[in-house]
């Protein structure tokens, strides 16, 4: 682990920028605290503001492995934490039949045979037969890893309860083996899209970070970093357009990811100035619902003109 990481909020903002991730001061402050206090971060916000990206960038920045656990309905311990390799266990009992025979063959009676077997029984419930899933894997890493528990709101509430032990004590209890502590404390990110309320117990254990859609200035910086070839004027128009669209009442507001895609598309088409026609043709990049396109249609010219004006001043 590099000790020069996470020494100050400013340092984080700088370094993340070199990793092509522009983080606001509140994000940087939270990262700094989470790292230094060893707390998990619960990241909330609309779709596509870079919640997952934040964890990925952190992993890159720390030079450590990113272990990702995608949550979904019905996710349970055996998929998230560990599972016995039942198949392997069964197969081994078959293969090892002969050796088992040898052990019990010269036993005088049943009790003795059982006793002998008992001496060996744990063989099949040892770490060799343990299939570590993401959570256990993160705990077993030699170096501090970044653990991303993505869309935790998609999992059932029971799963949340089960996360509590891991997030507060960084240990798991496996009945057959005992408690396994963390070799290194992973840096944990949980993301949520708010499809369901996260329980208070889980919230209490985490630092909370809400990432809203970025302000015009920040978004402009982000595009600059992600699409460096873009011209200054197009960038300003683009951002102004997107910011206005987000204020409309639409089903799915364009995310940062979509803004970036749009910038790339426009660049590919060699456009250096927005006009209503081009916007209409490329609208499918930022709006993903037909209703939204229809809503925008009536205001499209106004918005485009306003966006273009920004650069003329």
């Amino acid at each position: 682990m590099n000790n020069e990481r996470f020494i100050s909020v400013e340092e984080i903002m700088e370094s993340y920028k070199t990793e092509s991730y522009i983080c606001s001061k509140s994000i940087a402050t939270t990262l700094f605290l989470a790292y230094n206090l060893g707390k998990p971060i619960l990241v909330e916000g609309p779709v596509g503001v870079g919640k997952t990206e934040l964890a990925k960038t952190t992993a890159k920045y720390l030079g450590s492995d990113l272990i990702r656990l995608q949550c979904y309905e019905g996710l349970d311990e055996s998929k998230a934490l560990y599972e016995w390799k039942y198949g392997k266990q069964l197969l081994y009992t078959q293969i090892l039949k002969d050796s088992l025979d040898k052990i019990i063959n010269d036993a005088g009676n049943l009790t003795e045979a059982m006793d002998r077997l008992h001496q060996h029984e744990d063989v099949f419930f040892s770490p060799n037969f343990l299939e570590p899933r993401p959570l256990l894997k993160a705990l077993q890493m030699e170096n501090r890893s970044v653990l991303l528990i993505d869309e935790v709101d998609k999992a059932d509430e029971e799963f949340e309860a089960f996360l509590l032990e891991i997030l507060s004590d960084f240990q798991v209890s496996i009945p057959e083996i005992g408690t396994i502590g963390a070799k290194s404390r992973p840096f944990v990110f949980l993301t949520s899209n708010n499809t369901r309320e996260i329980s208070d117990a889980l919230r209490r254990r985490c630092l909370h970070l809400y990432i809203p859609f970025p302000e015009a200035e920040l978004e402009s910086d982000i595009i600059q970093v992600k699409v460096p070839e873009i011209t200054e004027s197009l960038k300003t128009q683009l951002v102004s357009f997107i910011q206005q669209v987000r204020k409309l009442e639409i089903k799915k507001a364009p995310s940062i990811g979509e803004t970036i895609d749009w910038a790339k598309v426009l660049l590919l088409l060699h456009i250096d100035k927005l006009n209503p026609e081009i916007v209409r043709e490329t609208l499918s990049v930022i709006l993903k619902f037909q209703e939204d396109v229809a809503t925008l249609e009536s205001k499209l010219e106004d918005i485009t003109l306003k966006a273009v004006k920004e650069t003329e001043v």
């Binding site: 909020v9 605290l33 206090l37 909330e44 039942y86 078959q94 209490r204």
Partner: protein
């Protein structure tokens, strides 16, 4: 500073933000790391450690601005050393010394202590504010400031004038600060009390008496109740559970491999979620009622209930799709306006509606489904066709009729409730959120 933070936590708690002891410790440690020098970082730090939902964030923003009013951070206390006469200073009280030395932490401690000594719980009327400001200013420690100002005015030495000025200025700021603190206390205490009472009251309010403002409060209470119901029932209703090794199934499956077992089989458990058909009368007489019923039903998590909804007026039509594409409130408004749905808003005709239901949807009602009908059963003298209702009852598990009118009114005038209730498994008066809550709880339990 720790003391100040603690009182800030208390304020937040009183405003309804849940802060555990653990969280406050984390916040303290975090502040130690970040320091106090930068206001923005300071605020982010507190926010990230204490505020865990977006709703709470708003409360936090307000409380923070009020509590840490900007002048605490800007060094506006002049450096006074060039004028200070140490002998005079010795005679002054602690508070004045703090001001003259520019020791803001010390000053704040005195102010905090004074504020703590005053019991704000009796502050019930906004007109009492002045009285309470006086009360704080009269507390030990602060009282001395006024004496010092009087004393300094009598001295005649270079710098005394400036000293007095500085003290006067600080005093004015103090009064301002205490003023905002007092009004904040007023808001906090009264808000909090109001909220608790309001909630219980809303649950029992009759639907017909609801105006626009209360409607939004109502929706909030519904959300809370829906969450409770969800918490209560979700555990049982996990629809698909992957279980442990199923020995019997494994043996059976592997028998084809000469008894060598290596393909394990697991136990699966499937629990059905109840399916309910909600038939809502959306004519004016029952509008409010149907509004909250729909809101409630759709607030429940989808994993818990399978809901299909129908609107009823002069005819009947399915409206489930409206909820699929719009959020609760918007969808309900759309339905009431008759937007996007095939409904004629003439006089209510239950007979026709049941006929429509039978012809188009009855075949999809399973023996495990529950049908809920909301309406006042005022059929405008039309043919009630209660035989059709019986057919619906035969097809489903439970037929529930919720009527917003009091039971004694059933059957009076053009109400055909007496006719209909014969075929209902449950017929209930239902005109408040508490009634709705009970009914839904019943369905989930069954």
């Amino acid at each position: 500073m720790e003391f100040i933070l603690q009182s800030f936590f208390t304020i937040l708690r009183e405003s309804g933000v849940r802060i555990s002891v653990g969280e406050s410790i984390v916040a303290m440690n975090a502040i130690k790391l970040i320091g106090y020098s930068d206001r923005e970082s300071f605020k982010h730090t507190l926010s990230t450690c204490l505020i865990k939902t977006i709703e709470e964030k708003e409360i936090f923003e307000k409380s923070f601005e009020l509590f840490f009013s900007a002048h605490m951070f800007e060094s506006q206390l002049d450096d006074y050393n060039e004028y200070s006469s140490d002998e005079i200073k010795e005679e002054l009280s602690e508070i004045s010394k703090n001001i003259l030395d520019g020791d803001k932490a010390g000053l704040m401690t005195i102010v905090r202590k004074a504020l703590q000594n005053v019991d704000f719980r009796d502050l019930k009327r906004i007109t009492q504010q002045g009285l309470y400001i006086r009360k704080v200013m009269d507390q030990k420690g602060i009282r001395d400031l006024e004496q010092d100002i009087g004393m300094l005015a009598e001295y005649n030495f270079p710098g005394a004038g400036r000293m007095t000025m500085l003290l006067e200025k600080t005093k004015r700021e103090l009064v301002e600060y205490i003023d905002s603190y007092v009004s904040q206390q007023y808001n906090l205490h009264n808000d909090f009390n109001d909220r608790v009472n309001e909630e219980t009251r809303i649950r029992d309010t009759t639907f017909s008496k609801i105006d626009q403002k209360k409607a939004s409060d109502m929706s909030r209470v519904i959300q809370i109740l829906a969450k409770q119901l969800y918490a209560l029932h979700s555990r049982r209703r996990k629809n698909y559970k992957r279980g442990t090794l199923d020995i019997r199934k494994t043996l059976r499956k592997n028998s084809s491999y000469q008894g060598y077992i290596f393909v394990p089989q697991y136990k699966y458990k499937k629990i059905q979620r109840p399916e309910i058909f909600v038939i809502c009368d959306i004519s004016n007489s029952v509008q409010n009622m149907s509004r909250f019923m729909l809101l409630f039903v759709y607030s429940l998590n989808k994993t818990l209930l399978k809901v299909r909804s129908f609107a009823l007026c002069s005819n009947l039509t399915e409206v489930s799709h409206v909820f699929k594409h719009n959020s609760g409130e918007i969808a309900i408004d759309k339905i009431h306006r008759g937007e996007d749905i095939d409904i004629s808003m003439g006089p209510t005709d239950y007979g026709q509606a049941f006929k429509d239901f039978k012809e188009q949807y009855l075949s999809t009602v399973k023996s495990t489904s529950t049908v809920i009908i909301l309406g006042d059963a005022r059929n405008n003298e039309g043919d009630p066709k209660s035989k059709l209702l019986k057919e619906i009852q035969d097809q489903c598990k439970t037929l529930i009729w919720l009527n917003p009118e009091v039971e004694t009114m059933w059957g009076a005038g053009d109400s055909v409730m007496d006719e209909y209730r014969k075929y209902c498994d449950i017929a209930q008066e239902c005109n408040s959120i508490n009634h709705l809550h009970k009914t839904l709880d019943l369905i989930l339990r069954s």
